[in-house]
Every structure is written in C-alpha cells, then in structure tokens.
C-alpha cells in the first residue's frame, strides 16, 4: 500500500519534470525582464561605474541553495555621503533580482552579509546607489556544483 502511494507520487513527479519545458512558466514574474532592464529601472539610465564596491562570494559553491554573500562599499557613511541602497542580481536565477537592501547614514558601516540561492554557475552583480546620485557596481563569478531552483524534489 505504502509502496504504491510512493510509486504513484514518483511517477507523477517524473511526468511533471518531463513536462517542465512545455509547461507555462510558474509565476508571471519569471523570466519577463532582463537584468539590464532591472538595473536601468534603479538608475534611471544613469551611468554605472565600477569600483568602490566589493562583492564577496565563494569561487566554488558546492550547493547553490545556500551561498554566503557579502557586500562592502567604500563610503564614509556620514549624513552627507552614504549608501542609499544595495541591489543584488543573479542573471541565471529564474527571478534575477535576488534582493534590495536600503541603508542610511545611521548604518555606520556600509557592509552587509546574507545567504543566497544560485541557479547555476554565473556572474553575480551588486549595484549600489550612493546619496550623491552616483551608481557603482561589482561582480563576482561563482561556480555552482549543485544548482538551486531546478531540482523538482
């Protein structure tokens, strides 16, 4: 009895996996917008410079379900000059906009750590908006052995 139920479940899953490429994307927000478009929405078309931002990710991640990420911005964090927001993008994720973080002059230090999911080896982008209206970015390449998102388990 138990064995039967298990087998039925397994077969159903197998069918679902096989049907995956033909199935309509789950969630209307998936794959509808490129990272470039998302970045433009934040910057309003302003120039994004490289530098001042340090994005730290492991070079090799065994498991894409949890990868540590650290962003550090070279900013004095004074009321006159501070980091307004940090945006993280992973282009190969089904939803590339991983997270947006909003800081202020009271943060004291422009640094943030979290753990992200990565759907495959890719270049992760960190976009930083400063209070003076400039935008800065940094990238980090990660090789992911076991990717998140696409295992239908």
């Amino acid at each position: 009895m138990l064995k039967n139920i298990y087998r039925r479940g397994f077969l159903a899953q197998l069918l679902a996996v096989c049907a995956w490429p033909f199935a309509p994307a789950r969630g209307a927000d998936v794959g509808s917008e490129s990272v470039e478009a998302m970045v433009r929405k934040v910057t309003g078309g302003a120039k994004v410079e490289t530098g001042r931002v340090k994005l730290e990710l492991p070079v090799l991640a065994d498991n894409g379900n949890s990868v540590s990420l650290k962003v550090n911005v070279d900013s004095p964090m004074t009321p006159a000059n501070y980091v307004k927001s940090i945006h993280i993008y992973a282009a190969r994720n089904p939803r590339p906009n991983v997270a947006n973080f909003y800081l202020g002059p009271r943060a004291g230090r422009a640094q943030l750590s979290t753990r992200v999911r990565l759907g495959g080896s890719q270049r992760v982008l960190a976009l930083v908006a400063l209070s003076d209206g400039t935008f800065w970015s940094a990238t980090a390449d990660v090789v992911v052995t076991l990717s998140a998102c696409y295992d239908a388990t």
Binding site: A16, A99, L112, T114, R115
Partner: protein, 106 residues
C-alpha cells in the same frame, strides 16, 4: 515565525554595532513540486524592516533568491539606549516581530 537575533553587547555611544538576524522560514520558491506533482506555491519573507527607537535604519526586499531561513548581517551606530524592533512579512501575509533592548553606555 521565530527569529534569532544577535547584537554586539554593551556598546559605547558612537560605536558601530553588528546586528545579525536569522528567521525560521522555508523561503518556498514556487518551483518545487509536492508528492502529487503539484507546484508548492511561492512563499518567501519578502520584506524586513529594522527600527532603532522608531527610526528605520535598515530595510530589505527579498525574493526567492534568498536561501531558506533568511540570514542578514548589517550594522548601525549605537546612539542611545532603547530598542531595536524587527518586523517582517511573507507572501501569505504572515507577519513576525522581534524586539531587542539595547543599553548604550558613555
């Protein structure tokens, strides 16, 4: 929803203190299937706000790209004794809240 929060203990006025929060939450992506092959609906903690004596010092908008049991580590300047209040909400509208008392010397 429970959360574990760590704040640098016994700060002096003007010190930069570290705040770490880990919320217990599956951060369901919406891409996984249950045993019957049906999609498990997306449910992630999409917003977290941290207030220090009623002033917002940090806000996070998160998606399915944040790992299960979301963990955040950020900083603030210890300005006065008081309270850090954390509020968060997930896609199903469930909210969580946690507060930490802060004693600042000097």
């Amino acid at each position: 929803m429970t959360a574990r929060i760590q704040v640098t203990p016994n700060p002096k006025r003007g010190d930069v203190i570290e705040i770490r929060i880990a919320i217990q939450h599956p951060m369901e992506t919406g891409f996984r299937l249950d045993d019957g092959g049906r999609a498990i609906p997306k449910n992630v903690v999409n917003k977290l706000v941290c207030r220090y004596n009623n002033v917002e010092i940090f806000r996070a908008e998160m998606g399915s790209g944040i790992a299960a049991n979301p963990f955040l580590d950020f900083f603030t300047v210890a300005e006065a004794s008081g309270e850090l209040v954390f509020d968060w909400i997930d896609d199903q509208g469930q909210t969580g809240s946690e507060r930490v008392a802060l004693t600042v010397t000097g």
